[in-house]
């Protein structure tokens, strides 16, 4: 098993993602600098980590989506390589048009860091299979722009096609459309989510649900 974590200038969960994936799955993780034109071969997972790529200036993820490595990421994703964008990574996936919609400023205009309860809306994806029958998960969020937006037709389609993977279960922390916390592409290999599995991979961190997610895809 082999995974790559892409490092953009300003990424700050890159190490967390690598450690989380390694500890949860034993996979070998390579760090790939954003300026690389190519990805290592034989990848079973690409992770776009959280953080503030390019300071989140202009728009979150906008400048990172134009990084040289993103051409290779788009190509790999189109080839079916499982690709996971967490937080800033989710924003980058939207900006790179690998996922529909966009992430707007949180409704209350503030950065919010807190644990959230998630509903696993689709447990049949390659990222959620290891949750089995379980339909809830707990992870923390930490974002200022996690308010998912898409046109109504897009939202209907996402819901209809099972592309909504995670929803905020109790309280919607940021005003996200239809309580969406994570979505997957049509082909089922590109997942974007605001909550951090990379902060939930050991019991002492408060939850191991992130480890379950990593094990789903690299199981």
């Amino acid at each position: 098993m082999k995974a790559a974590v892409i490092v953009f200038p300003g990424s700050n969960c890159d190490r967390d993602c690598a450690v989380g994936v390694e500890r949860a799955t034993g996979a070998k993780v390579e760090m790939v600098w954003h300026a690389e034109p190519e990805l290592p071969g034989g990848l079973d997972l690409i992770v776009l980590p959280g953080g503030f790529s390019y300071g989140d200036y202009l728009r979150c993820g906008a400048m990172a989506a134009q990084s040289p490595v993103m051409k290779a990421v788009v190509a790999a994703a189109n080839d079916g390589v499982p690709t996971l964008g967490i937080c800033n990574g989710f924003q980058i996936l939207c900006e790179a048009h690998l996922l529909p919609g966009a992430l707007l400023r949180n409704e209350k205009l503030k950065y919010i860091c807190k644990p959230v309860d998630l509903e696993i809306v689709n447990g049949n994806t390659r990222f959620t299979a290891a949750f089995g029958e379980r339909r809830t998960a707990r992870m923390t969020i930490g974002n200022g722009e996690g308010n998912f937006f898409a046109e109504a037709e897009t939202l209907d389609r996402l819901e209809g096609e099972g592309q909504v993977v995670f929803r905020y279960a109790n309280e919607n922390p940021n005003g996200s459309a239809r309580n969406i916390a994570g979505i997957i592409n049509e082909a089922g290999n590109v997942l974007g989510m605001m909550p951090h599995p990379d902060r939930a991979f050991e019991a002492e961190l408060g939850s191991i649900d992130g480890a379950v997610l990593f094990r789903s895809v690299l199981g």
Binding site: L58, N106, L109
Partner: protein
Amino acid sequence: MRARVQVFLKPGVLDVQGKAIEGALHGLGFPGVDHVRVGKTIEFDLAGSDAAAAEDEVKAMCERLLANTVIESYRVEVA
């Protein structure tokens, strides 16, 4: 040449910042304020002297980076 790009959220996208500012202005005693929209302005110098070519170039910048056309619209001025 000096270019100015204005980027606004599209009409269907809730402008939470605009809404917050509207509420705050009402609270400060400016009740006549309505339909507040907040946008970004990006101004810069641009090498070259052909205004039409410059405008095309700036539009290309908008499409690629400066605006996210899923949620935003933009206006370009070059002078």
